[in-house]
Symmetry: C2
Subunit: 179 residues, 2 copies
Amino acid sequence: MTRPGGRSARVRDAVHEAVIELLAAGEIDAAIPKIAERAGVNPTSIYRRWGNRDNLLLDAAVTRLRTTSPIPDTGSLRGDLAGWAEGVERSMRDPHGQILLRALVATMAPEREPIEYLRARGDDLQKTIDAAAARGEAVPSVDDVLDFVLAPLYLRVLFRRPVEPGTGARLVERLLRAL
Amino acid sequence: MTRPGGRSARVRDAVHEAVIELLAAGEIDAAIPKIAERAGVNPTSIYRRWGNRDNLLLDAAVTRLRTTSPIPDTGSLRGDLAGWAEGVERSMRDPHGQILLRALVATMAPEREPIEYLRARGDDLQKTIDAAAARGEAVPSVDDVLDFVLAPLYLRVLFRRPVEPGTGARLVERLLRAL
């Protein structure tokens, strides 16, 4: 017997994977029936779950970008942020990561509702910062982390400047020096 | 008698304006004949000058974003950068500016040649920085200015976070403190 949660998660993963493969193949305008075919699911399941193509694309991009750069728990804020920034940097050097970031920005049209992406990442960062504060470390705000670390990495990709290895670690050091 | 340079510049301005109006009206996919009609020029002139729609869109966005935030010459690096950052901040609070930034990012697909936008802005900034260094001021690199000031402002717009008044000035202060 298949648990509904297990099946549901498998459908989501298969559909996300299909979206990412199609994006990577340059098929940024792939319609839902095509995505469904590639994922081996019924188009109706996609319409029911995501409503439209933009919501699906956004969910796929957000899920992948978050999971490729989790925040580790190393016991120090410097270690946690450096580990996270290294993951972000790595995913920004990866063509799939770049495509997903572009897709994310492209789907965030001004007339749409604000999206959860940075909020979700912000919540992750807040937990890390709170834990460091509880240990007595000097801590930045989430906005500081986004300004000092995430914005420069993302801007490099969006404006097609190279992301040199070590950029993430350097940006984290700069943030901690500014405290 | 019409000077060729004068007429050429007027055509460029009229076509840029038509592109920006169509983008602002949500017609991001407007084809060249439609742009030509709105600008009151022959489609052939557009094809001859820009080659294709993406080149035209990029040129319109770059030209407008540069001219809405020139770097003033105030006699101090702090004043120059603060004046420039205030212009960038203002254009990022303006719906037209936001649309142009999105159009710029959208046309910079990974498979295209690197674009001149940040290079042109970088050259402007380098001149300002060189003049400050010649006056004996401590100066940042162009990359530092992009990381500390431009990236956080642009990321707010691309991720639909609000750009609070005074953000540009605050980011410039942070950059100068880090020197």
